[in-house]
Amino acid sequence: MGAVVDLDAALFEGLCRLGDSTLVLGHRVSEWCGQAPVLEEDIALANVALDLIGQTQMWLGLAGEVEGRERTSDTLAYHRDVWDFRNLLLVERPNGDFGHTLMRQFLFDAWHQPMLAGLAQSRDTRVAEIAVKAGKEVAYHLERSADLVIRLGDGSGESHARMQAALDTLWPYTGEMMVPDATDAALAEAGIMPDLNGLRTTWDALVQDVLAEATLTIPESGFMHKGGKQGQHSEHLGHMLATMQFLPRAYPDATW
């Protein structure tokens, strides 16, 4: 019986990692609303943000169900503190300029898409169903972000320099996505989530292809930050949550 309880705890943790990453990135991208360089990109960014927040509702909704303590996706999103969040460090990075936002999106999408493809094969049908639904949205996110990274990287001198700077800054935050810890390993062992080591080959190939076409150079340093999945975050997440969680915390009974 002990093993079953542990697996549920691991699943709750794994679902929070997925849902928190889509929530934090969705909120970050939504910060562009009304600010993007052109109207069409503004709408496209808002669409991506809405897709990610929709996926959050499904992942965190299931997390609450698995946990069985009557917490809903809203409770989990708005009434947990920084140290309870399990998102990747990459997605909490501030937006920077438009190129920086797109580079962050591409590095995440290139992982998100094969991750969802793996999750679609999950032995847990609830997980598989969400992954299939989200997979269609994310296939478009990846197509869009890869195309824009190529256009801007292989664009003008200034756009190239900005994209290279974004890649240099964000690269050390990508390692965490493909390094499994005990929770990831337990979920992979149980056939519920894919083996993160296996995602690396797909991610590497895709990222190398796109960045080469974008005429961008992958940084040589192998140093990688880690800790987001275990709840150790940069100072940026706290500031973001203060904005994102203000309303439901100040007015707990608010409805709309």
């Binding site: 052109v38 109207l39 069409e40 496209a44 478009y140």
Partner: protein, 94 residues
């Protein structure tokens, strides 16, 4: 080169078997991005099964000042509508 992206006219087919209909216009640097923008701007609510994008510059339009000569002569020629003619009873339903 103008800093402003060129304008594109967007046509969307709502269902199989219907014609593409003009839904609006948007700015994009090329056809591929015009297509993507059209998808983001006009098909969020399951509106379409097919998109056409056409450079606005490629459209030749009739001039509003020609409206009189172009269209008014047909206003008093009701016999151009098939309903103008009486159909003999023996023809039956057409």
């Amino acid at each position: 080169m103008s800093a402003e992206w060129p304008l594109w006219e967007i046509f969307i087919r709502g269902q199989h078997g219907l014609n593409h209909r003009h839904v609006g216009s948007l700015h994009a640097p090329d056809a591929e991005l015009a297509m993507r923008h059209a998808r983001d701007v006009y098909t969020r609510r399951n509106e379409g099964v097919s998109i056409w994008v056409v450079p606005s510059a490629a459209i030749s339009a009739s001039s509003p000042s020609d409206k009189g000569p172009m269209f008014e002569p047909s206003q008093d020629k009701v016999y151009r509508h098939p309903s103008f003619f009486d159909i003999p009873d023996e023809i039956g339903h057409m």
